[in-house]
């Protein structure tokens, strides 16, 4: 695995359906089987260390997957441990922010944990650098811009999250302690673009140079 210059021994948690637009698109299905009800608590998943890819590195895509889904997100790196924190205090537990590309094999069902879609080697681009809270300001004002081979493919408005950063930390820390070094992805945008081997994915935060540009190329996995 890649030991990135940004992350250490903390666990990386992602959250499903935090985008209002994606939630709304799913709303009609939420009461149908197998889901039967909309999610109440934040629905989390873990991006294990084998998924970590440093900024600039190539990410191998398995032969059976013609395309991968790009998951641009702002990631919150925890400083002071957060256990049952109040939303008004939650951002004090953030040591900084980093850009991530949470890659997935496309999958239509959210019923079972997405391990075989999201935990492939290299499937989390990270970096290039940790930005201090003061350099990022209000995380809800962040807008991520996703380009594939230079062409604009998606913008993610971090202000359009069902649970803004502080509320997300509060609601997650209600049932598990976020430890120093743990990372919580704020959430992916709706309409996630696809990319295939040979293409280069770039993610940046509009107007926040301190976060840099996260760049990874996709390559076909060697047979």
């Amino acid at each position: 695995m890649t030991i990135t210059p940004v992350l250490s021994a903390g666990t990386v948690y992602g959250v499903l359906l935090n985008s209002k637009e994606e939630w709304n698109a799913w709303a009609a299905q939420m009461t149908e089987p197998p889901y039967k009800a909309p999610p109440k608590a934040p629905v989390l998943y873990i991006k294990t260390a084998n998924t970590w890819s440093a900024c600039g590195s190539a990410i191998a895509v398995p032969a059976q997957a013609p395309q991968v889904e790009i998951g641009a997100s702002l990631a919150l790196v925890i400083g002071a441990p957060a256990h049952r924190v109040n939303a008004t205090q939650a951002l004090k537990h953030v040591a900084g922010y980093v850009l991530v590309n949470d890659l997935s094999l496309p999958h239509a069902s959210f019923y079972r944990p997405p391990v075989k879609y999201k935990n492939l080697d290299g499937f989390l681009g990270i970096g290039p650098k940790l930005a201090a809270p003061a350099e990022v300001g209000d995380p809800a004002a962040v807008r991520l811009v996703v380009r594939v081979d230079g062409a604009l493919r998606q913008t993610v408005d971090c202000g359009q999250m069902l649970r803004p950063a502080a509320q997300l930390i509060a609601d997650v820390s209600e049932f598990m302690t976020l430890r120093r070094g743990d990372v919580l992805l704020l959430g992916l945008g709706a309409h996630r673009p696809l990319a295939r081997p040979g293409q280069r994915i770039e993610i940046r935060a509009h107007g926040i140079p301190a976060l840099g540009t996260l760049s990874n190329s996709l390559i076909a996995e060697a047979a």
């Binding site: 021994a9 629905v43 989390l44 998943y45 294990t48 084998n50 391990v115 430890r179």
Partner: protein
């Protein structure tokens, strides 16, 4: 050999079992009840991958009204949920159903990528006992079992020992048992797993590299029951030892044991 990781006399130590006592690397020998038991795993410079199986025993799948899965039902746990032997696990206030799950835990010993099942045992460092608690009140059908059920602080006791793979000739031939306050409530056998250990290593390593120190919790058999604060839960696997855990109410300092009280008395 049986390996432990313990806190004793102001420091954390690696220890081995010797004639019913703990032998520390610095030569000291101490009693089992003189130490704090930690999960029997060396720390890693990155977060440990903890894979856990759901519904991997046909009888338990039936108990939970599911048909046996056609491929492994796997979820991932954060390292922060692990605690050691003889510790306390918190039952949240106001829940109706919290149950233990006695599980054979496989500890990876060598980097495993695209391993064939016939080679799988070469990649195992050893085995330990896991108790993979679940609080069923919080089950939701989104990435089920969701982390609010399965990834809570204190809810994954592990230990007491990491037993070398060489000492367990066949991990698919071990009896498992759980007692609650001394009464047997769960008994099963690893031969009844739907997906056995070599299969699981082949399956996971086909798409994700496993690293030394990573864990696979292989699922639990039939016989889970509700646990209440004060209950003593002992999950035991043949040849690996008995993992003791006590259920606690939230935000209560665990009471000192009688031995600790006697020692603390002036």
């Amino acid at each position: 050999m049986k390996h432990a990781r313990i806190a004793y006399d102001g420091a954390i130590h690696d220890a081995t079992e010797q004639d019913g006592q703990l032998h520390l690397a610095d030569g000291r020998t101490v009693d089992f009840d003189a130490v704090v038991w930690l999960p029997p795993l060396a720390p890693l410079p990155w977060p440990r991958t903890v894979l856990a199986l759901g519904l991997n025993y046909a009888d338990h799948a039936k108990e939970l009204a599911f048909k046996a899965p056609e491929e492994p039902l796997v979820f991932i746990k954060g390292e922060g949920s692990l605690i050691g032997h003889r510790a306390h696990t918190v039952r949240p206030t106001g829940v109706d159903y919290m149950h233990y799950e006695c599980e054979l835990a496989v500890v990876i010993g060598r980097t495993a990528k695209k391993v064939r099942r016939e080679d799988a045992y070469d990649f195992i460092a050893g085995y330990t006992v896991a108790n993979d608690y679940a609080i069923r009140d919080y089950l939701e059908n989104w990435y089920r079992p969701n982390l609010r059920v399965k990834n809570r602080d204190t809810c994954t006791p592990l230990g007491p020992w990491l037993v070398d793979a060489a000492d367990i000739p066949n991990p698919m031939n071990l009896a498992l048992q759980t007692t609650v306050n001394g009464q047997v409530t769960q008994s099963g056998h690893t031969r009844d797993m739907i997906f056995d250990v070599p299969f699981l290593i082949e399956y996971f390593s086909s798409f994700m590299t496993l690293h030394p120190g990573d864990l696979i919790l292989t699922g639990t058999p039939d016989g889970v029951v509700d646990c209440r604060p004060g209950d003593v839960i002992v999950t035991e696997i043949e040849g690996l030892g008995a993992l003791v855990n006590t259920i606690a109410a939230p935000a209560l300092t665990p009471p000192l044991s009688r031995r600790e009280k006697e020692k603390a008395a002036p």
